[in-house]
Symmetry: C2
Subunit: 454 residues, 2 copies
């Protein structure tokens, strides 16, 4: 232990809510988690906190041998960097989220032209997406506040996560999803965990709008990513990543950009870890969007980040099919503070990248694959150098959207679309299932054909 303030004392650091635009410091948040003065988003700040970095690292490492539920969570294990709320831990709802693996991607590294490429796979969380890391903290806050109902609008991953944590905490959950535009896998989760699931005849942004009206009229706790507790929980993915890297930051971290809460959370964690001297330098955090859902890309490239023009989003990467991202200002600040870049990628580039990640034995949902597709472009532009260490953040498991994968390998994904002509590179990655009679000769013939082509 060092001579600085002890860890125990610092766990009591009081977090303060702060508006990201007007710097107002409300004592508590309104039900829509917007600043009552200017309407912008709130975030937690930690005025005057300080820790002994070595002691913190040792504490966190030792908790990995603990049998306590909070210590086994990859979120609560790092609770010293989360807002301290009296008695919150007694209300903690945990599914042992976090603890996600860091995988090398040797084939993808060759394709992208970098020497060191790894993926932090947040799809290995309990409900199979990164949303669990924020949800454990925010659902616990809802339980602590005595709420009976929680709610979110979702492209599918948030609703799956919220419904699971609500069920664990004996709360009811309300899910608003856009009709016909989310994957079956994700819908099955919110049904299984007992949510009241409403499919509205609108898009994601339309669902958000109705939900914001609802929480002002009914005692329903908002669990969309504007909820600053969610951002705090999601921060821990970056802390866990740095621990896995022995606190040696990589050169680049690349994140998919949808509603931009995840980019914001990871960036916030990086800045806080630098401030607390847990890491000595900042990785560049870059954000990749799908071309059909690229309002943040256009904001940065066309308007210098001065404003964001909402759009009607359209991409098969449903998890980032968002035209009016709530956290764009937070994400912009992270780009600027870390010196990261923003990029956009096409539907064909996404599908090819997803198959390439699969060939490394790692499955992910389409939205996650924008990271590899974006890396290729950042590498071509020279923003990423061959000898720089790169980490991709994969946000969802392959099983979140099996239809996409099957359609791709069967050659149906781009059939009859504008993308069909440019899908040649993707075609070479397709591995359609072979239907055969049940006899040995047919199987041997298929095996020998594959052998010749490999």
């Amino acid at each position: 232990m060092s001579s600085k303030v002890s860890i125990a004392q610092n766990t009591e650091t009081t977090a303060k809510l702060r508006c990201i635009s007007c710097a107002a410091n409300p004592d508590s948040a309104a039900q829509d988690f917007r600043c009552t003065a200017c309407g912008d988003l709130l975030e937690f700040s930690f005025p005057g906190w300080s820790f002994d970095p070595a002691a913190l690292k040792s504490l966190w490492r030792n908790r990995r041998t603990s049998r306590e539920a909070l210590d086994q969570s990859g979120v609560w294990r790092f609770r010293e960097l989360l807002p301290h709320i009296p008695n919150l831990e007694e209300h903690a709802i945990t599914l042992r989220e976090g603890n996600t693996p860091l995988y090398s991607l040797p084939r993808c590294a060759r394709v992208a032209g970098v020497e060191s490429l790894r993926a932090k796979h947040q799809g290995m969380n309990p409900t199979a997406s990164f949303k669990d890391t924020g949800m454990t903290f925010a659902a616990s806050a809802a339980h602590h506040a005595g709420l009976r109902w929680v709610a979110c609008a979702s492209t599918g991953n948030t609703s799956a996560s919220m419904a699971a944590y609500a069920a664990r905490g004996n709360m009811h959950s309300l899910v608003l999803i856009p009709e016909g535009k989310i994957s079956w896998g994700k819908l099955s989760q919110s049904l299984d965990y007992g949510a009241l699931t409403c499919q509205l005849r609108t898009d994601f942004d339309g669902c958000v709008s109705i939900l914001n009206q609802l929480v002002r009229q009914k005692p329903v706790y908002l669990l969309n990513s504007v909820n600053p507790y969610r951002i705090e929980g999601q921060k821990t993915a970056a802390i866990e990543l740095m621990e896995q890297l022995a606190w040696e930051p990589p050169d680049h971290i690349i994140v998919p950009g949808g509603n931009l809460g995840n980019s914001s959370a990871i960036g916030k964690a990086l800045l806080e870890m630098q401030e607390l001297k847990l890491i000595s330098r900042l990785p560049k955090l870059s954000i990749i969007q799908a071309q059909g859902a690229n309002p943040f890309y256009r904001s940065v490239r066309e308007f210098g980040g001065k404003r964001l023009e909402p759009m009607t989003a359209d991409t098969q990467a449903t998890a980032i099919r968002i035209g009016n991202p709530a956290s764009w200002k937070k994400a912009l600040r992270v780009l600027e503070a870390t010196g990261g870049e923003v990029e956009e990628v096409s539907e064909v580039e996404i599908a090819a990248a997803k198959a390439e990640i699969g060939a490394d034995g790692i499955g992910c949902e389409p939205a996650s694959a924008v990271t590899l597709a974006g890396l290729k472009k950042l590498r071509q532009r020279g923003f990423v150098k061959r000898d720089e260490a790169v980490i991709l953040i994969l946000t969802g498991h392959l099983l979140k959207d099996p239809d996409f994968t099957i359609k791709f390998h069967r050659g149906d994904l781009f059939a009859g679309t504008a993308e069909e002509a440019e899908s040649e590179r993707a075609k070479s990655l397709q591995r359609a299932p072979v239907e055969l009679e049940a006899n040995l000769g047919a199987v041997i013939a298929a095996l020998e054909a594959a052998e010749r082509n490999s």
Copy 2:
């Protein structure tokens, strides 16, 4: 450390292959992993091994703070109890499998009438089923042996796992699946990970038959559960479970019964842990089958375990849709050694149990839910007492079969089938999605209706 033989020395314990029927001790296995003398299955035995139990437990606990890939695996962390093969660790293929959570199931406990009910969720493995724990060890053995091709017949989970590990190890993989009888989610995995996927016009048992012919003719490594390396890897789930329970065995462990490799592996681990004095008594291990795929249940109940009559299997729990289970003799031995029971459950009982597990915030695939359905029957029969501690082994993630879940909650699962009449209990658990116009009033009306019904 104690005065007994040091741990290091014991990691060199030589494992021996042994036939489970004629006790032959071949130096190596034939390509189909069958005894060349009598044709029955082989298993690993560890003549003369001994360890200091306290030192082993401490070693395993301390590895949880390690950054080494093998220590971070929930399988390789327990490598002292796996067969020692020179240089195998240099060929290890790991996705950080194991490390799965143990969840309390408070609502399910009330439904089943027991005070302590927990689930060890093997669906939280990297490819979302328990198969990964055996696959890491067996795929590493294939790599160590210099094989370029690995193969399996599968209802879906084995193929997903094998394809992932083969891709990680730069090996080719061949998957034989029954046409039209596996879930889309599982098929998407083997395609994504690059397997040559052949759908044969037969059932699972027909695929097994062709595969057994194939491996005798071609240099293809068999990765079905007759492979004794897979059983060894799967043992670690029971070791990890006992560690989570502070080495205090529960009264009952309940496992789904399909091909019966998993029951065999968990039982083998329990017996070995007792022999090594890692645990002081044996839990009763019980095995639950679906009524439509119950050859083991019938073997035990009708023939006293003397023989097993293969059958044509039919159940919506596709992961255990197996009519001729390879490992039935191993499983029988485990039942007898631990004093466990065998039970069968109906399609409606499976669907209801799956929804009840979901309501506890834990998703699983249908085959996993036979454990809760079976527990209810074992409780009614008095075999399980109210105050006994029970652990369910959940084998696959909810996302392995989202169609089943969606059909269930929409009321389509039993529509027009013989089960429809008896599905009343299940109906009370259904939570169909609600389609609404995109306006606040409609959502508030749905919320208030749910509030009244809750």
